[in-house]
Amino acid sequence: MEEPRRETEGQSEAPMWLKTLISSVRLPAELDRRCKLASRAAFVIAKMRRERTYHNIADLPLDRYLRGLAELAGVALTEVQSAFSLPALDSVTAVTAPILARIARLVGIPGADTEMYARWTFLQGVDSDRSDAILALSRGPDAKVPLDIALQTQESAYSADQAAELARVIKAIRHEYSREA
């Protein structure tokens, strides 16, 4: 049977069934790019997660703890940041909280710890001096105040806007952890 051929640019072309199939299996270039980044991020997180089994959550704000883990694991946290579109780690807002929480969840940090240490990161963004004061209150040889209580003491001084933003941060973190199962 003579196959009908379409002439394009003076050249014979592939049969329709073959063109249809090739077009069906083509994937967007953006998918390849994003999935490569995601795959690298997963590898970096796996290394950090393994490191975490040797170094449990330290007395640090979340960003500093994550950086420390990455350093100990010998991987670049920036690979995770670029895959998850998180430009900065050292401040937490309602927009960045779900991403930060996702990284923390994947690394294996429990939700309650993530929440507490994100509060600390938030405080650091609002007032780094007060954040440092937490260390004196809750850690060190003479410290008697648990970290969560120490944080609450500092948070009571937040403006209404800051308190509302922190509430949104906490809500976003809880939502992220609720998806874990």
């Binding site: 049977m1 090739i22 077009s23 795959s39 997963a42």
Partner: protein
């Protein structure tokens, strides 16, 4: 090694390698599943950008879930991955509809209808295998020429490939390359049993000539 043996070996080793955090395992997981995630999400009605987002999320999240959540005695890694992929799509739709996220039982049964929906046409894997048998330039060339909604001209493809590979491609040589690659792919597909029903249908519609020997995809006689 035949395909079944290959599949068995894959099913045994990839989860184990992911569990211990082997770098190449994450890459293999991506290569194997990113396309199927994307196609599944698109078939599920997600817009392209969201399907890409969700596919990338699944590539990271599912690979990382293996260590703690994939049971060592699970009969099929493939089925487990598909279940998580299905949950990701359901979750996405719930968020769009502002429904609360519901925890699904880990023992959730996949309905026959869903199984059928999930399974990709066999000819897709035949085409992917045929394309994979080409070298990267030939593969890109065929995908650029026939992969989009609108065919790119050889001049456009020459520009694109020159950018990608950092060397100059001439339109005339690409035409020859294209013809050879297309012949190779078609010949391979005609011998592939997974293509039988497609070829039969095409023949019924008077489209598929049985011999590729006499086909000339624009090559200079």
């Amino acid at each position: 090694m035949d395909a079944d043996e290959d599949g068995q070996r894959f099913e045994r080793s990839l989860p184990e390698r992911l569990r211990v955090g082997e770098e190449s395992a994450f890459e293999e997981f991506r290569t194997r599943y990113s396309g199927s995630f994307y196609r599944y999400f698109v078939r599920r009605g997600l817009p392209e950008a969201d399907a890409i987002d969700l596919s990338a999320n699944c590539v990271a999240d599912i690979a990382l879930k293996v260590r703690d959540h994939f049971p060592a005695d699970h009969p099929s890694f493939e089925a487990w991955v598909n279940l998580l992929r299905q949950r990701a799509a359901l979750d996405w739709w719930r968020q769009q509809n502002r429904f609360p996220t519901v925890r699904l039982s880990p023992n959730i049964e996949t309905s026959q209808e869903e199984e059928e929906f999930e399974s990709e046409p066999v000819e897709f894997s035949a085409v992917r295998d045929a394309l994979d048998s080409l070298d990267a330039i030939d593969r890109d060339l065929l995908l650029l020429r026939h992969g989009g909604q609108v065919e790119e001209s050889f001049a456009e493809i020459a520009e694109d490939l020159s950018r990608r590979y950092g060397r100059e491609f001439k339109e005339s040589s690409l035409r020859q390359r294209h013809a050879r690659a297309l012949t190779k792919v078609e010949r391979r597909l005609r011998l592939d049993p997974r293509m039988a029903h497609v070829l039969k249908k095409a023949e019924g519609e008077g489209e598929a000539a049985p011999d590729t020997e006499n086909r000339n995809y624009g090559r200079t006689p």
